[in-house]
Subunit: 635 residues, 2 copies
């Protein structure tokens, strides 16, 4: 009995154990698969070993999940853990992109964030002002000077200076603070559709060897043979896209990353046939060449170098689920990814055509992107509950000042408006500062949406530099952008600086707007004007000549007053000379500027910026206040 | 040996088994707790048995989770499962609320939705037009006539007719289609901050007995004794809030729900002391009385009756995690919920003060709400990938028509605009239709944001009904709402109907706007006017008299032309009579309407609605076109 009984008892126990184990794995697997399909936080491609299929095809279940290859979910980062994000940003247009990306990130985030921005001087100037006035709680921003990093990448052949910025992703392990162990690196042309903490959570899946987390490319570029002699940089299969990167900075530093990528890049550049360089142009169109390159531009991208390194050391990479970098270039294979997933996490506009890319679902993706382009950034000034994230000191001071206001005060709205710190985006569009000239004058004015049609006429009448403050919502700022792009007159002018002051409250903050525009004027003199007034054609030259003649530069303080006239005629030939002006005055077609001006000031209080400028004709010259820059009046 | 060996082997196997079991539960529990704290989809309060603590205190870990009481997560509903949502909606203001709620729901949803709307005639008219023109893919809307359901609840004492609508939640099991087994019922004053599928997933936790899922009240109202003789309706502890309900309709029907609630309500009403009825007023202020009630209004709410039933049958209710109904009434205890959770799922503005409620974090919640108030609803017209959800036939037709347009066509923008179906929200603000009068005339005009300041003057000059189409963005519609609320002149007028046509594209769709305004005119005659023209004070009376005199009602078709004049003076005394008008004409203060009118039509093409009306003074009378309603011109 015993010899039979013992195995029976042991067998029963073993069977029970096996059943429990099966139950455990099946249950766990089943659960996680279901959850992943719903794209919950922490959901991920289930096979986490590098799995680039030998035939180069994206697996049908890319981002999908078979029950058998699921692994248990790991937790999201703790509630108040600080997440680090690095971006490289240069120039006016990329700064706009970064802000849209940041808005999408902030909309879904629930953790404190530290943004590490590698910037040129232009982007730093814009973004520093923006974040300073945005005052978002639990967001810290550090700037790193791209100029200082330039020597580390400038030896890599790039036809355009701008190509260097893309390469700076390679030097982040050395550039970011040594204590920083992990960072998410983003291209500026991505849009978040989910909480970035879910992406951060994927760091938990790195094996001891892995240092870089990347999503596979969703184009055939790196497979080569797209045409005769098409030889892209080496990559593992389709290679990986570097629009979204998880970097283990600590391990990269330990592993001698700097030597590694420089060696790889040098060796590949030496063996690269000349034709391959031209290929890069096409590569960028197909989403192969990293960040967008202009037509005809030769560029070796960070993506090329990352892929060449991974080809040599496949163990370094952790492949990420495709939904974390849905690539929308022409001929993208992204549909294989998103048509199965219930959930997209990050969209990547990695075509130089950006939102105009051809893609049968582009309308869907564009809507997601427009959501954040147009989103009122003021609404992102919301605190994180339960995280010790003191607001910036200015914000705290402001809160205290606002709390001191009495609700009974009849001027409450005005006092609130006075305290309001408006988000400011200086040089919203590309701008070339005027060359330094001792008697130069900048026309300074401010406007809102309903005065955009004045801009073309103003440009025709004032050939010199201008600094204009625009009081707009986020959505209106996009309309303004399209307005300028559609106008040949405005597009041609690089010496007009447009500064967007974002709307908040119901009053028109005329003093704050003027001050923003004045602070950004880069000449020694300014001509303060109303947006409804057109200067005479010769005024710019005349003023500079007068400033020189009157020797205003030699410490003599003076304000020049320019006579202003008004017409009530809709079709009006602007006078070309004083004689013509006097003739029109005699004929009664022109009047001197209205003496009832002051009566109209009350209209300023109107809720919807019915400012007095509406009440004056469009063909008058007003006044000149010539001031040395530091003496701008306080609003 | 054997007797010792066998137990040893068995013991080892048993120990292994126990260890595995412990590992399983610990691991599972740990995992789920971590996830829940991060508020991932499907996360929930871990104890799912009814757990209203005897001392009436909300547990400190409400919405929190101890490792020991965690249960495994259940999956979200399958990707394309249709989710059902029911709401009761009556009147103009509630219709606006519903749209904001729906926008927040659509923003996060990933499933097809079927909305079941119990509406009065006003809300049905508004919402039918809105959803028809919105054309959101994978959203079906069914309407149920509140008038038909009224007799089922009208026996419950309610001082105001409007109180009855809140009670209609009780009759949903009978009113909704018999085949419908589950539905989420929402108050119109909630805002979603997450995917509704996560809420739907909680149906999986209902025991066989449970039929209603509810979140506990976050106020002390139902505890009673807030003052002497304060005796609220009976409830289990703090009771449950009915702003968010999961209903198992199938089981409710089986269980004889109709009898159950009627019996409970009758018995409670019979035993209720008279003073308790007055208490309801205070109850609503404290978020205890269900949907908001006006000051001094006596109301028995559906919430009272639900709670009385649950007090009698505690087994019917599944308590839901508090984050699914964060209640923002005065003195709310909600902070205990949201300060621990990383994630809020649904916000409930269950104070009559709504967004003006006093709460130290109200700014945070208000920002979330404003996000959807201002959100461009057009962006929600996005398809669901991978779900067979054909767009409405009109949308498909439109897509085909748009696809046929040539990108080379110089008129492309105009043709696109002509095909665009604008979202239309008719009677955006409360409106009383004019009493039927045979010769009545409605002033019909259209405007955009920059003409709001004309409205007060227009109201002073035209004492009759008006139908005005406003071309606005979602954000501007809110500004417009505040503009009207702040104006005594506009607030006093119930006979002015404002119809919001939502902006899309860069052109001003003047014909579509006029047609919307004309279609909503409820009188036999209309006076088509430009927003920049002010009718003479007597015109409304004069026109009605003329229509009667000229017997236009007797089938005679005629258009009456009203002479129009123009002034260039900013400060202008409007003429009170023809004699005064002629005197001003002689004095040159007034001109006849400009003959160069047609020259200006090209300005209409300007991108930012620089329409010609800007070019005319504000004191002219234009023309009258008297048409029988069906003859409205096509745009």
């Amino acid at each position: 009995m015993l010899p039979r009984g013992r195995p029976r008892a042991l067998g029963a126990a073993a069977l029970l154990l096996v059943l429990i184990l099966i139950g455990f794995f099946l249950f766990g697997g089943d659960l996680e698969c279901e959850r992943r399909e719903q794209g919950g936080p922490g959901s991920f491609r289930c096979s986490l070993t590098p799995r680039v299929p030998p035939d180069g095809d994206l697996p049908a279940d890319h981002g999908g999940c078979n029950r058998s290859d699921c692994v248990p979910l790991r937790p999201l980062p703790p509630k108040c853990e600080l997440l680090h994000v690095a971006m490289v940003c240069a120039g006016h247009n990329t700064s706009r992109d970064v802000i849209t990306l940041v808005k999408s990130m902030l909309f879904f985030r629930k953790n404190p964030l530290h943004l590490h921005l590698v910037t040129d001087a232009v982007a730093r100037n814009i973004l520093e002002t923006l974040f300073h006035t945005w005052m978002v709680p639990a967001v810290r921003v550090s700037f790193y000077d791209a100029e200082e990093l330039k020597p580390q990448v400038s030896w890599i052949p790039n036809k355009h200076y701008s190509g260097l910025y893309g390469l700076m992703k390679l030097v982040l392990p050395g550039a970011l603070p040594p204590a920083l162990a992990r960072v998410i690196v983003l291209d500026t042309d991505v849009t978040f559709a989910s909480d970035i903490a879910e992406l951060w959570a994927l760091f938990a899946y790195f094996s001891d060897e892995q240092v870089i987390g990347l999503v596979e490319n969703q184009s055939d570029w790196y497979l080569g043979n797209l045409w005769r002699n098409h030889r892209p940089w080496p990559a593992l299969g389709r290679g990986f896209n570097t629009g979204v990167i998880l970097l283990r900075l600590d391990r990269l530093r330990q592993a001698g990353w700097e030597q590694m990528w420089k060696l790889t890049a040098t060796q590949e550049l030496l063996t690269l046939p000349a034709t391959s360089l031209a290929d890069q142009v096409w590569g960028s169109l197909l989403g192969g060449g990293g960040q967008a390159q202009g037509q005809g531009e030769m560029a070796v991208s960070a993506q090329d170098i990352f892929n060449a390194i991974i080809k040599r050391h496949p163990g370094l990479v952790l492949p990420l689920p495709c939904i974390w970098n849905v690539q929308l270039s022409d001929h993208t294979l992204a549909e294989r990814c998103y048509s199965e997933a219930a959930d997209l996490k990050v969209i990547h506009w990695n075509s130089p055509k950006k939102l105009r890319v051809k893609n049968k679902h582009v309308e869907f993706f564009r809507n997601l992107h427009l959501t954040f382009l147009e989103y009122n950034g003021n609404l992102l000034r919301r605190e994180l509950f339960g995280c010790p994230s003191p607001p910036p000191p200015e914000a705290e001071q402001l809160q205290r000042a606002l709390a001191h206001l009495s609700e009974e005060d009849t001027c409450l709205e005005f006092r609130q408006q006075q305290l309001t710190v408006h988000r400011v985006h200086i040089t919203f569009l590309p701008h070339e500062p005027p060359p330094p000239r001792p008697h130069d004058v900048t026309l300074v004015a401010q406007l809102s949406m309903d005065r955009l049609q004045m801009l073309e006429a103003l440009c025709r009448h004032w050939p010199g530099p201008m600094s204009l403050a625009l009081y707009l919502t986020d959505a209106e700022a996009q309309q303004f952008l399209h307005f300028v792009e559609a106008s040949a007159v405005l597009s041609a002018r690089q010496d007009v600086a447009y500064h967007v002051v974002y709307r908040e409250g119901s009053l028109y903050p005329i003093n704050q707007l003027r001050n923003v525009a004045m602070a950004q004027a880069l000449t020694p003199y300014v001509f303060l004007s109303d947006i409804d007034l057109l200067p005479s054609y010769s005024l710019y030259d005349y003023l500079r000549a007068s400033i020189e003649q009157l020797e205003l530069g030699s410490g003599r303080k003076a304000a020049l007053v320019v006579p202003a006239f008004e017409t009530l005629h809709y079709h009006f030939s602007f006078p070309n000379s004083k004689a013509e002006l006097l003739a029109l005055l005699d004929a009664g077609s022109l009047y001197t500027f209205r003496p009832t001006y002051r009566d109209c000031l009350q209209i300023l209080k109107d809720e919807f910026h019915q400012d007095l400028s509406r009440h004056y004709g469009a063909a008058a010259l007003k006044y000149l206040t010539a001031l040395q820059q530091p003496e701008a009046p306080q609003g």
